[in-house]
Symmetry: C2
Subunit: 255 residues, 2 copies
């Protein structure tokens, strides 16, 4: 049998901002990139120069936890070393260029990465967006499923969606495996659940809760379904038994 190929470490996409205007947006971009684990930001001719105090304030410390930002004079130089670049834009050009969803774009970035190729995502300036020449230099248009009558995202929001889509497309083992269910607080066994339900049924019988009595079976099934759905822990079952005991304690005496 052939050996499994070694899984190459996935290469992140580089985020490239073409001629960003507001320093705040560059800082907010860095923050959300770092939130989703992206480390490499490039800037082409930022309007207000670089570094930028407003950018630093909005980044909430992200720049210190990323690769140093690189500033370029033009788009060609900024993307020169990359093998695959997608233009992120809501404005679909009259251009023969594939239009990709975030999911598809991320698949293509992973696929390229498997062959050691690096990808970039190119975002245009706030007011005007990417030029047609910049879009032409890219391999495809990445567009989001925006409302057609209100399609223009804030620049950092646009980067945020891409950064999320990237991270969401990578395997992060165990993230959603109910971390809150710690090993020291295990789910109840079926026996513990059944014993609690027996206890409950016994007290309900004594309280003459079931009338007519033949309703008991269906009623207890309903209660069992309810409690099973809650997926209780062993500790919660103990709490419920305490509740049943407390509620029924001394009940007969006041009659």
């Amino acid at each position: 049998m052939a050996e499994e190929p070694t899984k190459t470490k996935t290469l992140q996409p580089v985020i490239i901002l073409s001629q960003p205007q507001m320093g705040e947006n560059i800082g907010a971009t860095a923050r959300v990139m770092r939130n989703f684990g992206l480390l490499e930001l490039r800037i082409i001719s930022p309007r207000d120069g670089w570094p930028n105090a407003k950018s630093t304030a909005m980044a909430a410390g992200a720049f210190n936890l990323m690769k140093p930002v690189r500033v370029f004079e033009d788009t060609a130089t900024a993307i020169a070393d990359l093998q695959q670049v997608f233009a992120v834009t809501a404005r679909l050009r009259d251009m023969e260029k594939p239009v990709l969803s975030p999911d598809t774009a991320m698949e293509k970035i992973h696929a390229a990465s498997n062959f050691g190729a690096r990808s970039g995502l190119l975002f245009g300036p706030e007011a005007s967006g990417l030029s047609n020449a910049e879009v032409t230099a890219c391999d495809g248009i990445l567009t989001y499923p925006v409302a057609s009558d209100f399609a223009s995202l804030n620049l950092a929001q646009a980067v945020g969606v891409a950064a999320f889509a990237w991270r969401n497309s990578t395997d992060i083992p165990g993230l959603y495996v109910d971390q809150n269910r710690a090993a020291d607080n295990p789910l109840a066994t079926k026996q513990e659940l059944a014993a609690m339900l027996e206890h409950l049924e016994e007290e309900l019988l004594q309280a003459k809760f079931f009338h007519p009595p033949e309703k008991a079976l269906v009623m207890m099934q309903n209660l069992q379904n309810l409690f099973a759905r809650a997926e209780p822990t062993a500790q919660e079952i103990r709490t419920l038994r305490g509740v049943i005991k407390a509620l029924s304690h001394g009940r007969g005496k006041n009659k």
Copy 2:
């Protein structure tokens, strides 16, 4: 045969901001909600009052294209009419509460909507996040695959990710069906592609491009693969034939 059940119109999740501090974030929230087609925003006790000029400035007109924002005094009132609410937070509490990915949360919102139930997504204040009491009042925790060492998103970015995940989970017919390939600019037929390749091969033969001549077959296969991969339109094929003609025109004469 039973009739297909009528597909209920999908009910959008309501976005609920608990005690937001900065008006800018409320405005940026509205903008990105509207970008992804979400129309209902509720605010619980905004710190700087409501309405708020900074909020309006950041919204880029979104408020005019949404339902009127409703302001509530407390969380219980703000979520009272909803059947399913998820707390959006990066801070996983020591609490028996399911932890959901964006994809799973959106599935649950669609599933509830199929039975006419409305859902909400609850976001906490910028500095402190949701209280444990607020998380407890929810049906689950929605968390994003953030970097564990830099997990705190800007509030409007957090809403933006949810709004994108929502829109991305709904069917938007034809969005990624290569809109740029308009009906008046159809893909080339296989015959047009083949004729162009024959034209090219003929000119290359005359130019003695293939040596040794037995390489012609493989070389032409490679060129066919290259041009097929480009998925050319009929117009592009005409352009290519013009290019071949122009390049080969008069070639022999200068020899």
